[in-house]
């Protein structure tokens, strides 16, 4: 699964640690999701989309 988290994060001017704080996960987990090493669950995916003010489809796309 691909995602646009890195781009969206840069647009908002947030660091990985800041985003991690907002969605309630560890910074390493944000890094793992960004690089595609781990896939978030639907609730976490929705939380990520919500903090960016986007829909899940706008943040995550299937390969």
């Amino acid at each position: 699964m691909k995602n646009r988290i890195r781009v969206l994060r840069a647009e908002m001017g947030w660091s990985q640690a800041e985003l991690a704080e907002r969605i309630g996960v560890a910074r390493q987990s944000v890094n793992a999701i960004e690089t595609g090493k781990a896939d978030p669950s639907l609730p976490l995916g929705m939380r990520i989309a919500k903090v960016f003010g986007k829909t899940v489809e706008e943040v995550f796309t299937s390969d």
Binding site: G24, V25, A26, R27, Q28, I33, G36, K37, A38, L44
Partner: protein, 145 residues
């Protein structure tokens, strides 16, 4: 609340430090069996509490990673044990000669137990590291184009 990698290492270090201090205190203090039992139980409760906290404070991504590490670690552990068992069955004399290399030196049951614990502990640590490396390699392969 997320559980950081640093927190995990602090927890693990605290467990080992506690255990080390307990072993040292018991060895140096010549405690009786009752005192050893009670203090050992307290140390075990604290270690379990720290481990439980570590588990429940992990986020879902950290749990995914741990599950992968445990999967690969266990898989390698089973294969390694199988290889050792097959070798031991093929050459039964080797195992005996390994433990009785010096017949003049008496080995107490406590020493055998310590050797067994050391082997088990070392194998577990080693296989966890190998498991983590394999999990990373698989994740990297998944992300590579």
């Amino acid at each position: 609340m997320a559980y950081s990698r640093k927190g995990w290492w602090i927890n693990l270090s605290a467990c080992f430090l506690l255990f080390g201090l307990w072993v040292l205190t018991v060895r140096l203090g010549h405690w009786n069996l009752y005192a050893r039992g009670i203090s050992g139980f307290i140390v075990a409760v604290i270690a379990v509490a720290l481990a439980t906290r570590a588990f429940f404070f992990q986020d879902e991504i950290q749990k995914q990673s741990r599950m992968r590490e445990w999967y690969f670690g266990s898989l390698i552990g089973i294969l390694a044990t199988l290889a050792i068992v097959v070798c031991a069955r093929m050459y039964p004399g080797t195992l005996l000669s390994f433990f009785h290399a010096n017949p003049g030196r008496s080995t107490t049951p406590g020493q055998y137990m310590a050797i067994g614990l050391a082997i088990g502990f070392t194998m577990t640590c080693l296989l966890q590291v190998v498991g983590a490396l394999l999990a990373r390699a698989v994740a990297a392969l998944r992300t590579s184009p």
